[in-house]
Every structure is written in structure tokens, then in C-alpha cells.
């Protein structure tokens, strides 16, 4: 069961922050680092990076130029952007009415660390409709041994429609890790399109995401990961209100010795909600991916419609894809599916394309692109989608040259 903060409305922001961080630290102290005895940590554990994880980089400056939009550098707000519909705040006391601020995601004790070490508790409070994308850049740049911890709470208020594009840029030294906690609350009848692009140059990147869905809220979340030595994503979804609708889509393209570990827990606390989860990975060389997803339909959450699909495309005998989609259903009258595929390109599909005049290489590239595009096409903002399509095309062309 998730741990919720015990925010006391009478406390000042500093007190609240202290209590929240203290509680997170206490929980971590109790639980400790994950080991491969934990079901969610069978294939990679942070053993050699333990010191880095518990050594927060305080006050580290980035060396990058400012972009438009909201900019968060090494866990602190650098620029609030110019969006009049959004309040950017670090005042926890002003948000005592938000009951779903969590200390951790269920699948990872590492998620407690950004909640212990954050320099600023950053709140993006979207109070009015904003259909054009709100750009948020989260930069982590450090070359010292230690961790860059970022804590963000994104609130989409009742009835609000918003489109948020988050770019995660990580530039690190060999002993540096990033640990980010991104919490999203979709209030009643809100509509959110959230696109997250992860780019990391080196080393270990941990991303913890907690998503809360209230009554009749809808959210489409598309993530794309590129270039990380080790990337660990833990996502926890909680449905708190009926008739909410969440689509979670993810694409990862891995090469070299890159490793991607994707853990997902979807909790249907209430009924009549829809959740469609579709994650795809393209693997070359000696890369490794793990998908572990659990859909949990609680007793009484009737009318739940939840589907989980993980698809992996392998282009090397040394590449490895591990997939564990799981369901736990304690309610009646639900519609739940799960499945996974691991394989190579279908020779019949290659032949079909060749029979239309495209050569073997072009046919393969087209099929790989098609595989990826099924995720990217869920991004409705044209500029964001086309930018990502261009990146993916370049990445696929590089695969050809390897």
C-alpha cells in the first residue's frame, strides 16, 4: 500500500517540507536499498551506486543555456516560463488540499530518495485550459559523485484541458545518478496530454512517476527514452474516481549495452475506469530491457477495463528482452487483458514491402519505423510529434549503419 504524506495544515511550508522529507528518509532507512531478492529488482540493483544515491548534489550549477518554457535545473526552478495559466510554486503549505502527495511508488524504495533529498518541492499548478503545449525542461547536469534529485508535483485542476511536454536532459559524470519523482494529479473532468522525452548521455537514471486519476478525468501519457546506460522507470497509477480514462504509451530504442527497466503498477481502487498500457522496445547489440507490469483490480472495482501490452523487437542474438505482464483481479465484471511479444521482423511483411519495389534495407527500416510510430502517433501536438518522429527516424537509420 502506498504511503501518503501526513501534511498538517497548521505547519509552515518549511515545517511541512521537513516533515515530508523526514518521513521519506525514515521510510528509506527502514527499507534500505533494493536487492535482487525483491521481485521488482531481479535483473539490476544499484549496488555500486549506493553511495552516489545517498549523496545529494546540493547547489550544483548547470552549464546550459535557457530555453523557453519552464526550466528546472538540478532540482531547482531556473525559469517559470510565461504561462499565465500555470502557477509555479515551491510552497508546500499552499497545497494542503492536495491529498495525494506520495512519498514513494510501490515498486521501488529508491523513489523515497528524491522525496528525502529534494532542494525544492516544485509544483506546477495548471489552473486554466492550455491547449498549446506547456514546455518543461528538467535538466540534471553534474560531474561530481552523487545524485541529482528532482521532485515535481503537476496538478491539472478540475475541468482543465492541458498539454504538457517534458524533456529530461541528463548530462552526468561516471559516478553521478539522477533520481526524479514526477507526480501527476488529474482532478475531476480534467484532460491531460503528457509527453515525456528522456535523453541521457551516461550512467544511471531513475524516474519515478505517480499518477492519480479522479472522476471522469482523462490522460494520455506518452514516453520516449533514448540513450541511457541504465534507465529505471517505476510508475504507479491510482484510480480514485470512476469513469476516468488513462492511456500509457512508451517507446524505447536501445543499443550498445544500454539497459532499460520498466516497472508499472496500476491500482484500480474504484470501478468503471479504463486504462490502456502499451510499451514497445527496440533492441540492438547487447542491450537489455525488462518490463514488469501489474494491473490490480480491487474488490468492488467493477466495470474496470484495463489492457496491458508489451512488445519487443530484437535485432541481435545478444540483445535480451524480459517481459512480465501480470493481472490481479479481485472484482467481478471486468475486462482485463495482458500480453507480450518478443521477436524479430516478420519475413512475410518484409516480402510484401519488397514486392512493391523497396529494397530489403528500406523494407526493414519502414517496418521498424511503423513499430515505433504506433506509439508516437498518440502525440496529438503536431510539432512535438514531428520532432520525435525525426529523432526516431535518425535513430533507426543509425541502426542500419551499425
Amino acid at each position: 500500500m502506498k504511503e501518503e504524506s501526513q501534511l498538517n495544515p497548521t505547519l509552515s511550508s518549511t515545517d511541512k517540507r521537513y516533515n515530508f522529507q523526514r518521513r521519506s528518509a525514515d521510510l528509506f532507512e527502514k527499507e534500505g536499498f533494493p536487492t535482487n531478492k525483491h521481485e521488482n529488482w531481479l535483473y539490476w540493483t544499484p549496488d555500486t551506486f549506493q553511495d552516489a544515491f545517498i549523496t545529494p548534489q546540493i547547489g550544483a550549477e548547470t552549464n546550459t543555456e535557457s530555453n523557453e518554457g519552464i526550466e528546472i535545473d538540478n532540482g531547482r526552478i531556473k525559469s517559470e516560463g510565461t504561462y499565465k495559466e500555470i502557477i509555479v510554486s515551491t510552497d508546500m503549505a499552499a497545497y494542503s488540499d492536495v491529498h495525494h502527495i506520495t512519498n514513494r511508488v510501490e515498486t521501488s524504495s529508491l523513489s523515497l530518495l528524491p522525496n528525502s533529498f529534494f532542494e525544492e518541492f516544485i509544483i506546477l499548478d495548471i489552473q486554466q485550459d492550455h491547449k498549446d503545449p506547456i514546455h518543461v525542461t528538467i535538466k540534471a547536469e553534474s560531474h561530481e559523485k552523487g545524485s541529482v534529485n528532482t521532485r515535481i508535483l503537476c496538478l491539472v485542476r478540475e475541468g482543465v484541458t492541458a498539454n504538457v511536454v517534458v524533456n529530461h536532459d541528463c548530462i552526468q559524470g561516471s559516478d553521478t545518478v539522477t533520481n526524479t519523482y514526477f507526480e501527476t494529479v488529474c482532478f475531476k473532468e480534467s484532460h491531460l496530454e503528457l509527453n515525456q522525452v528522456f535523453k541521457a548521455k551516461q550512467n544511471v537514471n531513475v524516474f519515478n512517476s505517480s499518477i492519480h486519476m479522479h472522476e471522469k478525468a482523462s490522460c494520455t501519457h506518452v514516453s520516449y527514452t533514448d540513450n541511457a546506460a541504465i534507465m529505471r522507470h517505476d510508475t504507479e497509477v491510482n484510480f480514485h474516481g470512476e469513469e476516468a480514462d488513462l492511456k500509457l504509451k512508451g517507446l524505447n530504442i536501445l543499443s550498445g549495452k544500454e539497459q532499460f527497466y520498466n516497472h508499472l503498477k496500476v491500482n484500480h481502487h474504484v470501478g468503471n475506469c479504463n486504462c490502456f498500457q502499451h510499451f514497445k522496445t527496440i533492441l540492438t547489440d547487447s542491450s537489455t530491457s525488462e518490463f514488469s507490469g501489474l494491473v490490480f483490480v480491487e474488490k468492488g472495482a467493477h466495470g474496470t477495463d484495463s489492457t496491458q501490452l508489451n512488445q519487443n523487437l530484437l535485432f541481435s542474438d545478444s540483445a535480451r528482452a524480459l517481459s512480465r505482464p501480470q493481472l490481479r483481479i479481485d472484482a467481478d465484471d471486468v475486462l482485463c487483458n495482458h500480453g507480450s511479444t518478443v521477436g524479430q521482423l516478420n519475413p512475410e511483411e518484409i516480402h510484401y514491402i519488397k514486392s512493391r519495389g523497396l529494397n530489403e534495407e528500406a523494407a526493414k527500416q519502414l517496418l521498424i519505423y511503423g513499430f515505433a510510430e504506433e506509439i508516437i502517433e498518440n502525440i496529438h501536438d503536431t510539432l512535438t510529434r514531428e520532432t520525435l518522429e525525426k529523432q526516431v527516424k535518425q535513430k533507426i537509420e543509425c541502426m542500419k549503419n551499425d
Partner: protein, 246 residues
């Protein structure tokens, strides 16, 4: 001229085609009929260079060029087009983009300039009219989520856009309702009027009511056992394969 000379082929080490020879002239429609397992679809596979086919022998020539040793994409660019019985879905790939890529591959093969998206759009619109198809059809992923009839019509759209010399229609009538069958047949007849070579593979006479063949060939046990005009298909409908061979 399209000639098939003494073609033999195996699949999974089993000899399926045991010496097929045909000669098709521009503007002619040839129908190939035969019982299940007679080798009709294997013949189509051999012509387009399907990877299942092992060590094919003989010659398949467009005009005087033997294409049997060419890759499937080279054969397509030489002018061979197979309308598949079961067209493959390509999720995530836009139909218009795929058609343009195929069109440009052919242009490039023949040393011609590639077409830009705007001009290509105009070209495709004309072809859509022939098939009475809506433009939004182009924005969908190739064959993904298409009904059986839509897939067959999409094959014919590709045929009209790529403008090959030789067309093989592999059981194109299967899965089509009467209205779709008429539309597809009209498009094929339009294509026939352009002096193209058409090879129809079918189980049923009904397609031949709409696309009238000049020759009908009956295949049996990997060989052509009988050749006649369109009346042969009617006799076949009446007597069946056993009756016609006796």
C-alpha cells in the same frame, strides 16, 4: 510480352511446380484455375520471388529480360505486381507515404526523378476516383484495421499507382461482396485497356463474369493440364475438375 518457360519450383523440399510454360501478350487476360494444392499460388510466389520458394528452375521473362534471379524489389521495379490474396498489415505506416515510397523506388530504379508529396497527392487522387475510394483512406496505416474488401481495394489502388506491366491477381475475389467485386473489376478492366498483361488466379467463375479472360488455363499437380477460351471456365463450373479432366 510475359513468358514463363518450363518453370519448376519446390517449397519445403516438396516439388510443387513441375514444368509450367505460358505466354502472355500485352492486353491479354489469362485466368488460372485449379483444385486446391494444384500449384496456383506457388506460381504467383515464384513470379514475385517469395523467399519460401526453393531453387526455382526455368525462365520468367518480361519482354526479353529473365527476372527469375532478381530480388523481389527488382522484379517489382521491372514491372511485376502481385495483388496478394492476404495483404499484410503494416501498422504505423501511413498508406499515402508507403505508396509514395514505392512509387519513388520505381522512379529511382529507372533513373527518373522522384515525385514530391504535392504532385503525388494529385496523382493518387485520380486513382482513388477510379476505385470510388475516399481520400481519408490514404491517411490510415497500410491495411491495418482494414476490412477484407478494403484490403483488396487497397491492393488495386497500389496497382493503379505503380502502373506495372504484368499484374497477377491472386484470388482477389475472395472476401469481396458483389459491389466491391464490381468496383475492383472495373478498375482492373480500366487497367487492361492500357495494354497491360493480367494473370488471374481464381477458384470461381464469378470473377470472370466481370473480368473476361482471353485464355483459361487449368492447373493440376503442378502443370497446366488444359487451356481454352472463356467457355472452359463455364464448362468447369458445370462439370467440376474431375469431369473436365476425364
Amino acid at each position: 510480352m510475359f513468358t514463363i518457360k518450363d518453370v519448376k519450383a519446390s517449397i519445403d523440399e516438396k516439388e510443387i511446380l513441375k514444368g509450367i510454360s505460358l505466354e502472355l501478350k500485352p492486353g491479354e487476360v489469362h485466368a488460372i484455375m485449379g483444385p486446391n494444392g494444384s500449384g496456383k499460388s506457388t506460381l504467383a510466389k515464384v513470379i514475385v520471388g517469395h523467399p519460401d520458394v526453393e531453387d526455382p528452375e526455368g525462365e520468367i521473362c518480361i519482354d526479353d529480360k529473365n527476372i527469375l534471379d532478381l530480388e523481389p524489389d527488382e522484379r517489382a521495379n521491372e514491372g511485376v505486381f502481385l495483388a496478394f490474396q492476404y495483404p499484410v498489415d503494416i501498422p504505423g505506416v501511413n498508406n499515402a507515404e508507403f505508396l509514395r515510397m514505392a512509387y519513388n523506388a520505381k522512379q529511382k530504379y529507372h533513373g527518373k526523378e522522384e515525385i514530391d508529396p504535392f504532385d503525388f497527392n494529385e496523382l493518387v487522387k485520380d486513382k482513388l476516383k477510379v476505385l470510388k475510394m475516399k481520400e481519408r483512406f490514404l491517411e490510415r496505416p497500410v491495411n491495418h484495421g482494414f476490412s477484407g474488401g478494403e484490403k483488396k481495394r487497397n491492393e488495386i489502388l497500389q496497382l493503379l499507382v505503380l502502373d506495372p506491366k504484368v499484374v497477377i491477381l491472386d484470388e482477389t475475389d475472395s472476401g469481396l461482396d458483389i459491389d466491391s467485386l464490381k468496383q475492383v473489376s472495373e478498375a482492373v478492366n480500366y487497367f487492361k485497356s492500357q495494354d497491360k498483361i493480367i494473370l488471374l488466379i481464381t477458384h470461381y467463375q464469378r470473377l470472370l463474369n466481370y473480368i473476361v479472360p482471353d485464355y483459361v488455363h487449368i492447373m493440376n499437380d503442378g502443370k497446366v493440364s488444359k487451356t481454352g477460351d472463356k467457355s472452359l471456365a463455364l464448362t468447369l463450373e458445370e462439370k467440376g475438375y474431375e469431369g473436365i479432366e476425364s
